[in-house]
Structures are given as C-alpha cells and as structure tokens.
C-alpha cells in the first residue's frame, strides 16, 4: 500500500517536472508578451483575462515572467550542477585515485571550502562584481559562482569512492596486466565513478535552484529585466498581508513544488542505487 502511494507520488512528481519544463520551453508561445514588456496603464494589476497572474509594479506580465524565469532557473541549476560535478570528479576522483599526499592536499582544500560560510562567500564573490552587468553576463556569473563553489561535498564522496576503487581487485588485476596509471584511471576508475557522478549531479540541481533563489532575493542573482525564480521572489519582500495578493506567491509555490518533485525522484534513485 505504502509503495503504491510512493509510486503515485513519483509519477505525479515526474508529471509536474515534465509539465513545468514543457511550459517553460514553450514560453515564447504561451506567454502573452515578452518578460520585459511593460503595460504602463496596468501597473500592479490583479489577475485578469489579459494577465493571468496580474502585473508587477512596473506593469510587466507576471505569468510571462514566471514562464521565462522558470526557463532560466531550470537551465541554470543543471548547468551549475554539471560544472560542480565535473570539478568534483576532477579534484576528488583524481585525488582519491592518486592517494597519499595528493589526497591529503585535496581534502585539506575541500575541508577549507566546507568550513567557509557558503552563502556569505557567494554573496561576497557576487558583490565584488559590478552590479550593472548585462542580464546575460549576470546569468553566466551566477552559474559560474554556483558551479565553482558547490563542488566540495561531492569531491569528498568521489575521493572516498576513487580511493576504494584504487585498492579494488579489478584495479589490482589491471595493474598486474601491465596497464599504465593513466589508462587505469580512465578505463577502470572513471566508469565506476559514473553512478556516483550521476547521483551527485541530480542531488545538486535542487540545491542550486534554492541557492539561485537565495541570491536572487538578495538582488545578487540574475540581473533585471531578465527574470529568474530568485528575482521573482524578491517581489515578496514588501508583502504585508498574504491574503491581499495571494497570486504573488505563485513563483514561491512553483519553486517548492519543483524542488519537492526533484527530491521525490531522487529518493527513487537512491533506492535503486541501494
């Protein structure tokens, strides 16, 4: 009974993600206007037939901005997850395989990164850059910052996995066959790191979605007028009453639903891995 309901939950999560991804991909056709188009005669308007989620305080259609913002956030998070997983594979995987002083140095650097206040570091690094950057540059900077600072936990896992692979029977057997070190790493270690790399990649996506949202709320994420979930949530800063304008919570609800859906699907992956 429990497994059936879990199954249903996962199916629902999968459907939600497919729907959200499809809607964001079709933003050009679904949205009534571009994300930057201003309706100056309808600023701060409530939902209507023309503007399903109303407009923001400078008259931009909120539904269009949610669709385009979803596209940015859902592209940005996997890209950052890919970069951080790649770095973790390179730093952690190689250090674990080489062992000895290499592993100690790499893990000392990882420990240092892990002990730094992550969000504070992100804010500082982003604040060091000019605020008036173009929207595209801000997207790239946010993606690079998240990717370059988010590799540490994955690197630790990969270091341990690579170290255990190094002392495995099949690597010993391959050494006995006469394979050189480089070949051993690429042929025998990397293919066996893949399941861990996939898991780390998927686990990182919801983390980076939330990190981007945090940066956006602080005004340090994707620059205006380009929307992202973070910049859309910034609108909630001045909210006095939840009941007055509940439609403003749609980006927040969407964020929670998408992250929850990811978590539900990830729990399935963990079950398979176990």
């Amino acid at each position: 009974m429990r497994s059936e309901s879990m199954n249903l939950g996962r199916k629902l999560a999968c459907a939600v993600l497919v729907l959200v991804l499809a809607a964001s991909a079709a933003a050009n056709w679904l949205a009534p206007a571009g994300y930057a188009r201003q309706y100056r005669d309808a600023t701060g308007a409530p939902p209507s037939r023309a503007h399903w989620l109303g407009t923001d305080e400078i008259g931009r259609d909120r539904f269009a901005r949610v669709l385009y913002g979803t596209r940015i956030s859902l592209l940005l998070a996997p890209a950052a997850a890919f970069l951080s997983t790649l770095m973790a594979a390179f730093i952690g995987g190689l250090a674990g395989y080489l062992g000895g002083a290499w592993a100690r140095i790499a893990m000392a650097v990882t420990d240092l990164f892990l002990s730094l206040p992550w969000l504070f570091l992100l804010i500082t690094a982003r604040a060091l850059m000019p605020l008036n950057v173009s929207p595209l540059v801000s997207v790239l900077v946010t993606f690079l910052l998240l990717g370059l600072l988010g590799w540490t936990t994955a690197a630790r896992v990969l270091c341990t996995t690579a170290a255990s692979l190094r002392s495995s029977d099949f690597v010993r057997q391959a050494r006995a066959v006469g394979l050189p070190g480089q070949r051993l790493f690429w042929i025998h270690v990397v293919p066996n790191l893949k399941p861990v790399l996939y898991a780390q990649f998927w686990i990182s996506i919801p983390v980076f979605i939330l990190s981007e949202a945090n940066l956006g709320i602080l005004g340090l994420g994707v620059a205006e007028p380009m929307p992202s979930w973070g910049s859309l949530l910034k609108e909630l800063e001045g909210m006095v009453s939840v009941g007055e304008e509940p439609w403003k919570f749609v980006p927040l609800i969407l964020l929670v639903v998408v992250v929850t859906s990811f978590q539900l699907l990830l729990s399935r992956q963990e079950e398979i891995a176990a």
């Binding site: 000895g100 495995s168 029977d169 099949f170 010993r172 057997q173 391959a174 050494r175 006995a176 066959v177 006469g178 394979l179 050189p180 070949r183 042929i187 025998h188 293919p191 066996n192 893949k194």
Partner: protein
C-alpha cells in the same frame, strides 16, 4: 629446514625479507622456481602468501612495504626495477590470476574491452590483430569467441567463465611465469578441477611456469611438481610433492599433513571418529 637443491634452469630466485613499517611480514624467504614447473606455495591464511606474490609483481605500495634482498628474474633483480620497468614485465613475462574472479573483472566494462586493454598493454596493431589475439587466448581456455560472449559484462557470466577470462587475460602475451593466487579457492569442486586441469594443460602446452598459491593441499597435490611451505612469513620447507606429502620434515608441515581430511573406514561410530580426529 629442508630445501631441495636448485637446478640450473632457474627462472626466478628469491631471497628477501619484507616489513610493513616495523612489522616483519616475510622473513628471509627463499624460493626458486624452475622454467616450466608448477611450484606450489602453501600456508595458512595470514602467512604471507599473497604478500609474496605481490612483492614479485611489485604491486605493493613502496612507501608502506620495505623489501630487502633480491628477486632474480631473467637477469634482473625485480626489487631494484623502477615502476616503468616492472610494468613492461607485468602481464608480458609475469602474470597474475586472483582469487575472486567476479571482483577481479571490472563490473562496468564488457569482456571485449577488458581483453582489448590487456592486449594493448603490451602490443600494438590493428583491430583485426587484436581480435585474432583475443580469439586465440579465449580458445586456449575453452571459452566461446563469438560476439555475443564478448559483449557480456562480468555479472552476466558464471564464476567459472569469469575465472577462465582472467586466465585468458593472463596468458594472452605468453608469460613465462603465471602466479595463481588462491585462483581456485572461490570455486566449487567441479569448476575447481576444470580450472586445475586448464592450468596443467597450459603449463604443458606453453611451458609456462606456475606459482600456485593455495591453502588447499588436495589441489596443490593434484597440480604441483614441487611445494614450498610458508609459515609465519618464512619458507620452512621446500621439496617435491612426493617428498612433502610422504616425508614432511618440518613440524608445521607435519601438522598440515595431519590436518588433511581422510576417509575413515566404514563402521566406527561418531564417537570413534571424533577420537580418531583428536589423536591425529
């Protein structure tokens, strides 16, 4: 200590000690292997059998394991060779087959890829050359050579097949010495006897010497020309199989022989069997 006289056609002559930090693991080990012979190395778990095999192949971490002495093999001292020099010998002149066939093959790679890698470690040529070499070595261990088999992953094979793949990989470059480290211990008795017969056949057809490491005296008796007994890091006795089994000299060898299972005559009660076992 009883040792038989070394012959002229010595392939490997080892006399060395090994310690991990301050802990001695092998003490003044003396071992000689003649060309084309099957040498047995017997001892209980923890006596240093695998460490000895790994030392010969130079597969121990040099920072942790300190070896003193020499292992003469084909005009060179293996203990003095660099990692690069050892790599040219591994798989080409000295091969290894480990105990657990399924964990000794990479679970993420197809059999074809693993055999290809073993071939490319010491040979270069076209894909067709590689394919021919793979076919020949698979045939020599009585394994199928078709595409369907080569596309398999280790998990899709039986333990016996996996062990044969490992042996095929080990004999691919026609080494002069094969080290079988407990290579039949994880196998059922029928597969074990098949693999022993295969070792014997390869030994006879290629003239390859085998260092057969095992704690199973029955399998050692069935395949080896000579036997060395390793006890607490020392080779305490070495001789022909007949000598060791018929007239063991060292007290530990005598205990080993006494511990071999024997079929008691039919009839006695369980109590009698227990008493007989206690007095042996």
């Amino acid at each position: 200590m009883a040792f038989d006289t070394p012959q002229n056609d010595t392939l490997l002559s080892a006399h060395f000690s090994l310690r991990y930090a301050d802990k001695p693991v092998l003490r003044g080990v003396r071992l000689e292997i003649q060309r084309g012979e099957v040498m047995g190395l017997v001892g209980q778990s923890g006596s240093g059998k695998s460490t000895l095999a790994m030392t010969i192949l130079g597969l121990l971490e040099k920072k942790r394991a300190h070896a003193e002495g020499s292992i003469q093999f084909q005009d060179s001292d293996l203990l003095q060779l660099s990692e690069r020099e050892l790599r040219t010998l591994r798989g080409r002149s000295i091969s290894l087959v480990l105990q657990s066939p399924l964990s000794s093959l990479n679970p993420a790679l197809r059999i074809r890829t693993q055999l290809k890698e073993a071939w490319r470690a010491h040979a270069s040529g076209t894909n067709s050359d590689c394919g021919n070499a793979i076919r020949t070595c698979l045939e020599s261990v009585s394994l199928p050579t078709d595409d369907e088999f080569l596309r398999k992953y280790p998990s899709q094979m039986s333990v016996g097949q996996a062990q044969r793949v490992l042996i095929a990989m080990a004999v691919m470059h026609r080494p002069v010495l094969l080290i079988a480290d407990e290579a039949t211990s994880a196998l059922d008795v029928i597969t074990q006897s098949e693999i022993l017969a295969l070792f014997r056949a390869l030994n006879r057809s290629t003239g390859m010497a085998i260092l057969y490491i095992s704690h199973d005296l029955a399998s050692v008796a069935g395949i080896c020309d000579r036997i060395a007994i390793l006890h607490q890091g020392e080779v305490v006795e070495c001789g022909t199989t007949e000598q060791i089994f018929a007239n063991p000299q060292h007290e530990y060898t005598q205990r080993l022989m006494a511990a071999m299972p024997r079929i008691l005559p039919a009839g006695p009660s369980i109590q009698h069997k227990t008493q007989a076992a206690a007095t042996r």
